[in-house]
């Protein structure tokens, strides 16, 4: 290891000079190449925002939801055609059963006297002309029969045996309960809908038997304390199901309309608080703002926005609403 490293010769220096220049040149070229390469931008992990669907803010923009075949299958939509239908609008009312006032008769003694016998108790039925009481007249001191003016049920008996029956005090009241009144309370919001002659289905709250009748009277005077008015229907009670004094509910068929374009109410979604339905088109599902007319429990009339025959999403339409709005969905704290 005693060998001394030799001193570089001039030729060596020249060579190394060339080598240095070569290295610098190569380096320069490589540097230029590196500078020309695009910087690698790592993918942002946080919601890129490049999702389909409108952001839901534009009012004038067309709402269009595109689903591919798999998405469509998974969306599980029900699609039905808008078509002509009859819409029956119904108004529910609460009411009370009253005796039919036109079929209620008071039984009065012709002459004042002592009640000697009372043959009918309250609740008993009587035939027309049947004797209901005997009175000893004060004037003639003879007994006479009091007979039932109509057939019906005794609904009130005010007198007792042996008491003095005054000629202007009624002995009993007989009502013919084969027809009854249903008196319904109608609130102001429903006034305009109600008309004489409308069909009403009446149900006693307890048992389910329903009777159909029609509105035969709407009171011209309102009730001050409840700000409501009275509507009346005469009920056929030949089976004796209904009892005066009990509550009933009635469903008035307010309108029966044949409408040219109707779809199920489940089609409606609200986007920017406007009612929208989704119509299947070639490009996808188009959200259309609609104007709704008559409605019943299930169907609604479309006045504007959809024409008859178009395919409208009626089931699971929320999925499309969600697609439209999912750009808005964020979770901030």
């Amino acid at each position: 290891m005693s060998e001394q490293p030799s001193k570089p010769s001039y030729a060596g220096k020249f060579l190394s000079g060339i080598a240095i220049i070569a290295v610098l040149t190569v380096g320069g070229l490589a540097g230029a190449y590196i500078m020309s390469v695009e910087k690698v931008v790592p993918k942002s992990g946080h919601g890129g925002g490049g999702h389909g669907g409108d952001d839901g803010h534009g009012h004038e923009e067309k709402i269009l939801v595109k689903l591919n075949a798999t998405q469509l299958k998974n969306a599980n939509l029900t699609i039905e055609r808008a078509s002509q239908t009859t819409i029956r609008e119904v108004l529910p009312l609460n009411g009370i059963i009253q005796p039919n006032e036109e079929r209620v008769v008071a039984v009065l003694p012709r002459f004042g006297g002592i009640v000697r016998s009372l043959s009918k108790r309250i609740g008993e039925t009587v035939k027309q002309g049947e004797v209901v009481a005997r009175i000893e007249s004060n004037e003639s001191l003879t007994q006479y029969d009091v007979v039932a003016p109509i057939g019906g049920t005794v609904i009130e008996r005010k007198s007792t045996l042996g008491e003095y029956a005054d000629k202007d005090r009624r002995l009993m009241v007989i009502a013919d309960l084969s027809t009854l009144w249903g008196d319904f309370r109608v609130y102001q919001q429903d006034f305009p809908k109600l008309q004489l002659g409308q069909k009403i289905t009446i149900r006693q709250s307890q048992n389910g038997t329903a009777k159909t009748s029609e509105i035969s009277y709407i009171s011209p005077i309102g009730q001050t304390d409840t700000q409501s008015m009275l509507a009346r229907a005469v009920i056929d009670n030949s089976e004796g199901v209904f009892r005066p004094g009990l509550y009933v509910t009635g469903r008035v068929q307010v309108s029966e309309q044949s409408v040219p374009v109707a779809i199920k109410q489940s089609a409606i979604q609200y986007i920017n608080s406007k009612p929208v339905v989704f119509v299947e088109g070639k490009e996808g599902f188009e959200g259309r703002e609609v104007e709704v007319g008559f409605k019943d429990d299930e169907m609604m009339e479309i006045l504007f926005g959809v024409v008859a025959g178009e395919k409208v999403v009626t089931g699971n339409s929320f999925v499309l609403r969600a697609e439209v709005g999912k750009g808005e969905a964020t979770h901030e704290h």
Partner: protein
């Protein structure tokens, strides 16, 4: 100093050995106490206050709850900021304290203030502080399910209500007793409630209002104690029991009387077992389930606690009725075990590699073994330090330790000892005596101790900048840096004590003096290269410089990533749906997603939390679901080589097939951290503060328009604050007045009718179920029906209407003095605020944006100017700026100071050890040269620049300097002995070849498994390992070739003597001066 330590260690070798073992044993003890978790805890010090306000809309919740609480919390000591979020039925106030604040102290302060504010809050609001836990708290998730077709003991199928009852009253109370569990949270199923469902028509018939009903139940459901009486010396307690015990009891409570006949609840209402109006639900593989979450107390060991939870659940399962069972869906133990496996593998592989390399290059198995012993010992010392510094063991703090680098110092010492021992034996031609052996060991250790110690110090110093990181980055990387530093300190200490001591004890006998085949062939290749490098030094140095510049340029082209995400093995998907999506719909969508996920072969199961749990640790609205996708172990995958990223991509595709949701994929713990830390996650957040929500949104929209126009802006978003569909029932005051009604009674009625009103509780043992009065489902959900809801009108002392009708006529007023709700209130639909967020006591709306392709600082300046000019702020409204950019800017400012300081420190250390500026500078050149390889390796593997990679560069600079230092110090020693410059360079480099190769091989091979790893912790390790391997290859080549060339370039024959003379002269001058005084 070093001399004395080494001498002492060799002389008292047995003592040193035992102390080392003792320290090791202490380390083992500490290891058992060390909190082990999968990832570092990055949660800030925060106290969550959850206020449950049933039925409150976001606006009311904010006004009545959030505001008073926030106001009260103002001015707390060490308070960083407060923020609040108000949603339907819930307000969450988060109080964030400065880092380092004691959480218990903070909670006490908050609690104190809460007590003061409680009086100001409306009645019926439950205010509670969140559990004492961090983002790592949710360690164990399980579901309570019923077997297919199983029947309840009472008969009938298990309903979600039954399962929830089982969870809340059987599982939860037992689980809460497990030490380390601070809370058990439940979501899903339905809380069992007894619903008193009145028939509104019948109520009107009996002239009873909902209010009467609630009152009647409340007044007929209590046990009362009445003191005691004494009787014949005995004492009798008196009590009057009156609690309702069954549904029948409720039915028979009287609510009033009607002409002498009592009216019981049963006459006007049904009583049924009902479902709460829940705010959250849970699903598992397409079924609705009850999901329980065990939350771990802050600072506990997640592995132990989750193991305890698992044991306890097994016990609890036995107490469940037949047919019901508990299914574990998430267990932190798995992840922690994976972490432990990773760390253990690192240790074992590291040790094996060190042994193999040392054995190959030294040819001495004992030396190899005792060097390898330094690995576990220094590790145990680090563990002791971690316990003291309260650092938890996790993928970050342990996963990134390269034991190759840590034992470098020891390797150098062992190598030198062996070399000298062999040389001495060779020179004497016999085995050494004990004295001679000890002397040789001491001398050999001393020879390289100084450079090795300085080298270790330098590696520690380069970690210094990391310690200045703050925020999330700080919480992630400071523990890692501290652990490495402690391990290095341990290794340094051991290499001066334990290593010489054990060499002295164990390396007896003959030490082979002949270099083995490997070293000889390496030398044969190296020598001509070295000659060429020294001869053509100008070329070599120029080439090296070109390389450095090129790599510098290349580095700017690398992608960047600030914080790496640690792979937790499982996937979390946040499914976001349009605001206003109902819980039922959300559950249905989620079930569809889960059904679809079941067909993905890598997915084991998936489950989700939708909406808010019982304890609102995360206040999610029902349109958001946190879904967890649990993966099968890799060996069950059809394609085991598939990367996680690829799988995530595939899952994203699968999810996109199901319309209606947006998906954000992350990982369970990561997701939880995001929820807790919250704040603005984008680069820049412009916060608009003010009063009126509409104004705020308007200003925010204008800000976003301006921001979008600033070049470089991307993903500009305005926080979604509105869009929740609201049904408003607005009473008409004039009409109310006319009818003599007051607003409150109407509102109460609406509340009772739709939301329900709690009238008491039914007790069944410990269990208690709320008794709620609420309208039947079909009535409360139907708007038309709501319009007809009867409202009682108070009796007016008005004129007696003359009854013109006959007596039998039932007066119409018997229909009840009721009026329909629709008559007195306007019912309308309108979108309302979805959520109201506040920060530091003021409403705010955030506009967030990311910055692409330009630096943050200039972007922020330009954006601030543009917004200042173009957006007019009304009085009472102002802007705040926040986001990641604050972090980045403050971090870069701090680093701009700390990095030069660290570099100066290194230079100082080098100068101290070499005594020459010139030599220090030469050694220092090793740093940029080493970095070139790292950059190249990153670029070739297409890995972005990250803090992890940065840590790799840091470690690398240390290793480069260490090797350079050893070579230069050696050359200097040779020159001091009078060997001529060229010869000294040649000899020194040749002699140092073996240790340099050894350290390089140990450090780089130790990282090879990490560089190609795909398991837990790979994300952190891969960039780091890649950098170190690439860098060490380049740094070794450069140390061996460029360093001698540089040294030769800057030194002339004899300048060493001059330098040292100069130094001596100086010393003499000083001496002379001092003696002159």
């Amino acid at each position: 100093m070093i001399h004395r330590i080494v001498t002492f260690s060799v002389l008292q070798r047995w003592l040193v050995l035992f102390i080392s073992l003792g320290i090791g044993a202490f380390g083992v003890y500490n290891f058992l106490r060390l909190p082990i978790d999968a990832v570092p805890d990055i949660t800030n010090v925060q106290v969550q206050i959850n206020a449950v306000a049933p039925g409150y809309s976001p606006l009311e919740a904010e006004q009545r709850i959030a505001f008073p609480i926030e106001t009260e919390l103002g001015g707390l000591p060490r308070l960083s900021y407060t923020r609040s979020l108000s949603r339907y039925g819930l307000t969450q106030v988060t109080v964030v304290f400065e880092d380092g604040t004691d959480i218990y102290w903070a909670r006490t302060l908050v609690n104190e203030r809460l007590q003061q504010v409680k009086d100001e809050l409306p009645q019926g609001i439950e205010v509670a502080m969140g559990p004492i836990a961090t983002g790592l708290g949710e360690i164990y998730l399980y579901t309570v399910e019923a077997k297919e077709g199983a029947k309840r003991p009472e008969g009938g199928d298990y309903t979600p209500v039954d399962l929830r009852v089982l969870h809340d009253w059987v599982v939860k109370p037992q689980l809460r007793t497990v030490p380390g569990v601070v809370e058990v949270n439940s979501i899903g199923g339905f809380d069992r409630q007894l619903h008193v469902v009145p028939d509104p028509e019948r109520l009107t018939a009996y002239n009873i209002t909902l209010h009467h009903l609630v009152e009647a139940i409340a007044k007929n459901n209590a046990n009362v104690g009445a003191g005691y009486i004494e009787r014949n010396g005995e004492q009798y307690l008196v009590r009057t029991p009156g609690q309702v015990l069954s549904v029948d009891d409720i039915l028979s409570i009287p609510v009033g009387s009607h002409s002498g006949t009592p009216v019981r609840i049963g006459d006007v209402a049904r009583v049924e077992i009902g479902k709460e109006l829940r705010t959250g639900a849970a699903t598992h593989d397409g079924k609705e389930v009850v999901l329980g979450t065990a939350v771990m107390l802050i600072g506990e060991n997640s592995r132990t606690v989750s193991a305890r939870v698992a044991d306890k659940l097994k016990q609890i399962e036995k107490s469940l009725p037949d047919g019901a069972y508990i299914r574990t869906v998430y267990d932190r133990t798995n992840l922690v075990n994976a972490t432990i496996t990773t760390v253990r593998n690192n240790l074992i592989e590291g040790a094996l590699l060190v042994i193999a390399i040392l054995f190959l290059l030294l040819g001495n198995i004992r030396a190899a073994l005792l060097t390898a012993l330094v690995i576990p010992l220094s590790m145990l010392i680090a563990v002791t330090g971690m316990v003291e510094a309260r650092i938890s063991a996790n993928l970050m703090s342990l996963g990134a330790i390269d034991f190759g680098i840590i034992v470098d110092g020891a390797v150098i010492i062992v190598e030198n000892c062996l070399r000298l021992l062999a040389e001495r034996q060779h020179a004497l031609g016999r085995q050494l005596t004990r004295r001679e052996r000890f002397a040789t060991v001491i001398q050999a250790t001393k020879e390289v101790a100084t450079p090795s110690v300085f080298g270790s110090f330098i590696i520690m110093v380069v970690y210094l900048p990391i310690l200045t990181l703050t925020g999330v980055e700080g919480k992630m990387f400071i523990p890692m840096a501290l652990t490495v530093v402690m391990a290095l300190l341990g290794a340094m200490f051991l290499s001066l004590t334990f290593v010489p001591a054990s060499i002295a004890i164990f390396i007896t006998g003959k030490v082979s003096e002949k270099e083995n085949f490997l070293v000889r062939s390496a030398k044969a290749v190296y020598e001509p290269c070295l000659r060429f490098a020294v001869a053509q030094r100008a070329f070599i140095v120029t080439a090296a410089m070109v390389l450095v510049v090129l790599c510098g340029l290349w580095a700017t082209k690398l992608g960047t990533e600030f914080i790496p995400s640690l792979d937790e093995g499982d996937i979390a998907v946040q499914a976001l749906r349009v605001p206003g999506t109902s819980l039922t719909e959300s559950v249905r969508m989620q079930q569809q997603i889960e059904e679809r996920l079941r067909t993905v072969p890598e997915v084991k199961e998936s489950f989700a939390r939708i909406g808010t749990a019982e304890i609102a640790t995360d206040a999610m609205p029902p349109n958001i679901a946190d879904a967890y996708i649990m993966l099968k172990p890799r060996d069950q995958w059809p394609d085991q080589r598939k990367s996680k990223a690829k799988l995530v991509e595939e899952i994203q595709e699968v999810l996109e097939e199901i319309p209606g949701s947006n998906y954000e994929l992350s990982q369970p713990i990561q997701l939880r951290f995001n929820e807790l830390i919250a704040g603005v996650r984008a680069d820049i957040g412009v916060k608009v503060f003010g009063d009126d929500l509409d104004r705020l949104v308007e200003i925010a929209n204008r800000v976003s328009v301006v921001l979008q126009r600033v070049p470089g802006a991307a993903d500009v978003r305005v926080e979604q604050v509105t869009g929740l569909p609201v049904l408003s029932i607005r009473p008409d005051r004039a009409k109310l007045a006319r009818l003599g009604l007051n607003l409150q009674s109407v509102q109460e009625l609406i509340e009772t009718a739709i939301g329900g009103r709690v009238a008491g509780a039914l007790y069944e043992g410990d269990r208690r179920f709320k008794i709620l009065v609420r309208l039947p489902e079909d009535r409360r959900a139907d708007i038309e029906s709501l319009k007809r809801l009867p409202i009682a009108i108070p009796e007016q002392q008005a004129e007696k209407v003359v009854e013109a009708r006959p007596a039998y006529y039932i007066p119409e007023s018997k229909l009840g003095r009721f009026i329909a709700l629709g008559e007195i209130a306007e019912i309308s639909f309108a979108p309302g605020p979805n959520q109201v967020s506040r920060e530091n006591g003021k409403r705010r709306v955030v506009v967030s944006a990311n910055v692409r392709g330009r630096d943050l600082g200039s972007f922020v300046q330009e954006a601030q100017a543009a917004i200042g000019q173009q957006v007019q702020m009304p009085a009472g409204y102002w802007l705040g700026w926040g986001g990641q950019f604050e972090q980045l800017i403050s971090a870069s400012k701090r680093l701009a100071i700390v990095v030069p300081v660290a570099l100066a420190l290194i230079a100082l250390l080098l100068f101290t050890s070499l005594g020459s500026m010139k030599d220090a500078a030469i050694v220092f050149t090793g740093v940029p040269l080493a970095l070139t390889g790292g950059v190249a390796a990153l670029a070739l593997r297409d890995i972005p620049m990250s803090i992890s990679a940065g840590v790799g560069f840091i470690a690398l600079s240390g290793v480069a300097v260490l090797n350079g230092l050893v070579i230069i110090a050696f050359i200097k020693n040779l020159r001091r002995e009078g060997i001529p410059l060229d010869q000294a360079i040649h000899d020194g480099a040749m002699k140092r070849l073996r240790p340099v190769l050894m350290t390089a091989l140990v450090a780089s091979l130790g990282f090879v498994p990490m560089a190609i790893a795909v398991g837990a912790g790979a994300e952190v390790q891969r960039p780091l390992a890649t950098v170190v391997i690439g860098g060490i290859v380049s740094s070794t080549l450069l140390t061996l070739l460029v360093l001698p060339a540089l040294y030769r370039m800057f030194h002339r024959e004899g300048d060493l003597a001059m330098e040292e003379d100069l130094n001596l002269d100086e010393v003499e001058t000083i001496d002379a001066r001092s003696s002159a005084h």
